[in-house]
Symmetry: C2
Subunit: 220 residues, 2 copies
């Protein structure tokens, strides 16, 4: 499978590396490839991941059969707009971003929140994308390696398209998620719920002093 | 101990009955005791709980050494204002309410949300109350009987006053919560996190078709 991971931060790099390790063709998309390639942090990672190709958003989106949104939530719509709607048509978009707003400092707030969500906003803005919100409720190392956290814990799914969700389930299995650990909440509107887990996630990180934890719904 | 439970809905009644079963003196507060007593649902419950006394908010707040806010989140400030600040001075308030706004139908949204919380609003409005936000992230039957949900799961604490939190911990133990199941998130600002669990809680209820579940933080 050809994957395009949009976003070259720690989340995008972690997911891109895991997809490449699993044998997929992976292109990682950014706004300005030259500027990204020049960043030390990115360059170090790229040297360890020569099989992942860096490209501008439109080229990455054109090549990817399945897209992963790992851009910052505040710039996701701009990044997808730049990627060009013609390259998005009918494709599955796995949305793992959160609309965190750091403009007022830490901890960030969410925008949109409560009566809307980033997942819904992306689906409304690009109605021919098949958006599946998932994996956004945990640290990125757990996303691609759930065994990092001992014991049972959950990953949530929200989205309108049953076939897209089925494809995402299969990808999650390949990451190490057992079928019983995948909790389908329903339509993309339910992304409001999972994005609104971020405020308690951030405060748990503060209280626990680490990020190797995840939500488990006991009794589910 | 004398407890005043403010609010006569299912949450208030469930907590008041449990406190009475544990041998505490319990008064349950409402705006209009005659109107509450005349309601069939309340009357049936009162007949089974003759030891719990019904009183107007000011009288209930005056009698209670420890207060439980189980009013609807949209009317909590009005109820506490009616209770009279002189009766709140220095007391512990266990805030188990959520600021759910049903004015746009189901599922409700939260107000306040994101940059504020009901817990903080109560603490700001009544600075001499010692507010501890807890128990608001689960169905009320689980609050008072955590063994209803098999396996490990958590209850959160948010608040500024260490002695108040210690007292609330002891109450939680008497309800059946093990020390390891109580997760102190920090100050009252962390109530933003736990109140914002409600949107996913509501969607989990929809997806699972029941309310006998609770959050467990795996890796905590």
């Amino acid at each position: 499978m050809h994957y395009a991971v949009l976003g070259t931060g720690i989340v995008g790099r972690t997911v891109a590396a895991r997809l490449a390790d699993l044998g997929h063709d992976v292109v990682i998309g950014t706004r300005d490839p030259a500027a990204t390639a020049a960043r030390d942090e990115y360059a170090d990672w790229q040297a360890a991941q020569p099989q992942v190709r860096l490209a501008a958003f439109p080229e990455a989106a054109r090549e990817g059969e399945t897209l992963v949104n790992a851009t910052g939530g505040q710039v996701s719509i701009a990044a997808l707009t730049e990627a060009d709607a013609a390259h998005l048509d009918g494709k599955v978009l796995i949305d793992i971003a959160n609309p965190l707003d750091f403009s007022q400092g830490f901890p960030p707030s969410l925008d949109p929140v409560n009566a809307d969500s980033l997942g819904e906003l992306i689906q409304r803005t690009f109605p021919r994308l098949r958006v599946v919100k998932t994996l956004n409720t945990m640290n990125c190392r757990i996303m691609v390696d759930p065994a990092r956290v001992a014991g049972e814990h959950h990953v949530f799914l929200s989205g309108e398209d049953a076939d897209a969700k089925k494809a995402v389930r299969e990808l999650l299995h390949s990451f190490g998620w057992a079928e019983r650990s995948i909790l389908d909440l329903g339509g993309i509107e339910t992304a409001r719920g999972t994005e609104m887990l971020l405020p308690v996630w951030l405060r748990l990180m503060g209280a626990l002093g680490h990020t190797d934890f995840n939500f488990h719904i006991q009794g589910a």
